[in-house]
């Protein structure tokens, strides 16, 4: 029981090491999202965006003002996504600088109205509120629609007593994202990135009075 067009889900993961616990969490979230979308009667196509691979392109885009190559392709995918999952490591009490820069060079309005599931990793659980104090305001600014559950995975959550709790939160967040996509009606055209030709305002409306 699936719809005709699969939902386009983009997972942005900003870990720097390989293997990375951030990517581990991103993959787990991606799997959970596919399952929860299936339960809601939708198929989902997942595209993983490794921010690390765009590190140089992001710096270039900050300097030149435009994104090129594979970065531009991933930006377009984000602008066209039905749902987005973001996962960042916690650096100095907040999201990583590279993660922020990736969104800084994104076309204005690219995530307008897009349901987003927020997630982060960190060495200890002490910084988990960065989800609410740093990550959520960023996506509010971008006019995205973050779902209520945000997921923080400390190193200790990958084994031991916290594991079941992490799995439950992953499941709940993925389910919320699936519901948010079902609830949204039609996606607006978000930006010039996704549009074939430029939108414009007729001149009579531009002239004052």
């Amino acid at each position: 029981m699936t719809d005709i067009d699969p939902s386009r889900v983009v997972v942005v993961t900003a870990g720097l090491r390989a293997p990375s616990s951030t990517r581990l969490l991103a993959d787990e979230l991606a799997d959970a999202v596919v399952e929860e979308f299936a339960s809601a009667g939708r198929s989902a196509e997942v595209r993983i965006v490794e921010v690390r691979e765009h590190a140089h392109a992001i710096a270039d885009a900050l300097l030149t003002g435009f994104a090129a190559g594979a970065l531009a392709e991933d930006q377009r995918a984000l602008a066209e996504a039905d749902a987005v999952v973001v996962v960042t490591p916690t650096f100095s009490g907040s999201y990583s600088g590279l993660f922020k820069s990736f969104f800084d060079v994104l076309e204005l309005g690219a995530l307008d109205q897009t349901p987003v599931l927020l997630a982060a990793t960190g060495g200890t659980e002490r910084h988990s509120l960065m989800l609410e104090h740093a990550l959520r305001p960023l996506f509010t600014y971008l006019k995205a629609v973050p779902v209520p559950t945000a997921i923080y995975a400390a190193t200790a959550d990958f084994g031991g007593p916290g594991t079941a709790s992490l799995s439950a939160r992953v499941r709940r967040g993925a389910a919320e994202l699936a519901r948010a996509v079902s609830g949204s009606t039609s996606r607006p055209t978000r930006s010039a990135v996704a549009a074939d030709s430029l939108a414009f305002t007729p001149f009579e409306e531009l002239l004052p009075r």
Binding site: A59, D60, L62, L63, T64, G65, F66, A68, G69, A192, S197, L198, A199, F200, T201, P202, F203, L206, L207, P208
Partner: protein, 374 residues
């Protein structure tokens, strides 16, 4: 003058030469602009455009002064701007300064309007950058009237109202200076150019050509919509950035330190990446010809091609050598190829001469006769 004009444009930056560490003085830089313009005429180019900026490291704060000085020492080359700031310059002053220039140069000038993207310049001139597009729309609406109506009564949001005002001098032969509107990404400006039937210029440097293609396409569609002519009759100008040597490896080797340290894009992408992603061409004159002919594929036949040769701290001597290559090896071939490809119904680049001729042709014959008899 041929169907398409070829020339150069500059922003007038004072930048250290990264190979010597030497920074030219403002005096040297201003004088260099004049040398460059005279050389451009000598090698047979059609247009030279100077910038307008109000902050260091730029020296080009007073374009009409520079244009008049160049104009007095040249005979044939057209003077233009890249760009005249329509947002922060009083449109009455633009009407007067460029109106005077038009007479002094016997019509051998036009201007390109731009908004300017340096935030503090707006408050320095009592304006708000968030109103940038609205300033461009309203100020040009006034400028357009000042050059076409002998007495203007006017009230807007951004300048003190006018009552019974006549901008002097009146345009030469009653033909107002031709106006190009320049914008990289604002559809409002393409729409504005189309509405008035003015020219649209895309700077076409430092950015991927996809932006140029989209903006020119919008301008052409809207130009046709407003009844000024067909899609391919709209008046389009493009920029371009080149560095040439007879041998392409020499060009790359010599330009790389300037590229790597340039304002705007320096310390970012490699010369090779930037050459791939933007219209920058560093190589032989043949490579520049081939790349430039490729512009026709995504904008169609167009009326003005300006190259950026003079920036990033390149010494004057090098810039003059670039002009020799452009004038001797590149432009003659481009003129021939552009002319061959151009359909008859595509208009020539606007000049005072052909616009005056068109204005006379549209006046009813009887009136002409009466005027002659009177």
């Amino acid at each position: 003058m041929s169907g398409t004009q070829f020339g150069i444009f500059s922003v007038g930056d004072v930048t250290p030469d990264p190979t010597t560490g030497r920074t030219p003085t403002e005096h040297e830089r201003i004088k260099a602009q004049v040398e460059i313009a005279k050389k451009a005429e000598e090698v047979g180019l059609d247009v030279v455009a100077v910038g307008q900026h109000h902050n260091p490291p730029f020296v080009a704060s007073s374009p009409t002064t520079t244009m008049a000085y160049i104009g007095a020492q040249t005979e044939r080359i057209m003077l233009s701007t890249s760009t005249t700031l329509i947002t922060t310059t009083d449109p009455v002053r633009i009407a007067e300064d460029y109106g005077t220039l038009q007479h002094l140069l016997d019509g051998r000038m036009d201007l390109m309007l731009g908004r300017g993207n340096t935030g503090p310049v707006y408050p320095w001139f009592g304006k708000d950058i968030r109103e940038g597009v609205n300033l461009a729309i309203e100020n040009y609406a006034l400028l357009h009237r000042l050059w076409r109506e002998d007495v203007v009564n006017w009230e807007g949001r951004f300048r003190t109202p006018l009552h019974g005002f006549t901008a002097t001098p009146r345009p030469l032969d009653d033909v107002p200076p031709f106006v190009w509107h320049g914008s990289i990404r604002s559809p409002e400006i393409a729409e504005q150019a189309a509405y008035y039937g003015d020219g649209f210029f895309h700077n076409h440097i430092f950015w991927p050509p996809s932006h140029t293609k989209q903006m020119v396409d919008l301008y052409r569609r809207r130009y046709e919509h407003y009844g000024h002519g067909s899609y391919d009759q709209a008046i389009v100008g493009l920029g371009g950035q080149v560095f040439m040597r007879e041998n392409s490896q020499d060009a790359v080797r010599e330009f790389r330190p300037y590229f790597d340290n340039a304002p705007v894009y320096g310390h970012g992408p490699s010369l090779e990446e930037f050459s791939r992603e933007t219209p920058l061409t560093v190589g032989s004159p043949e490579q520049v010809i081939e790349r430039t002919l490729g512009f026709l594929d995504y904008v169609g036949d167009y009326q003005r091609q300006l190259f950026l040769l003079d920036h990033a701290g390149l010494p004057l001597k090098t810039v003059l050598e670039q002009l020799d290559l452009l004038g001797e090896k590149v432009v003659p071939v481009l003129r021939e190829e552009f002319a061959k490809l151009r359909p008859a119904h595509v208009p020539d680049a606007p000049t005072h001469g052909n616009r005056l001729a068109a204005a006379i042709a549209t006046v009813p014959t009887q009136t002409q006769t009466e005027e002659v008899l009177a």
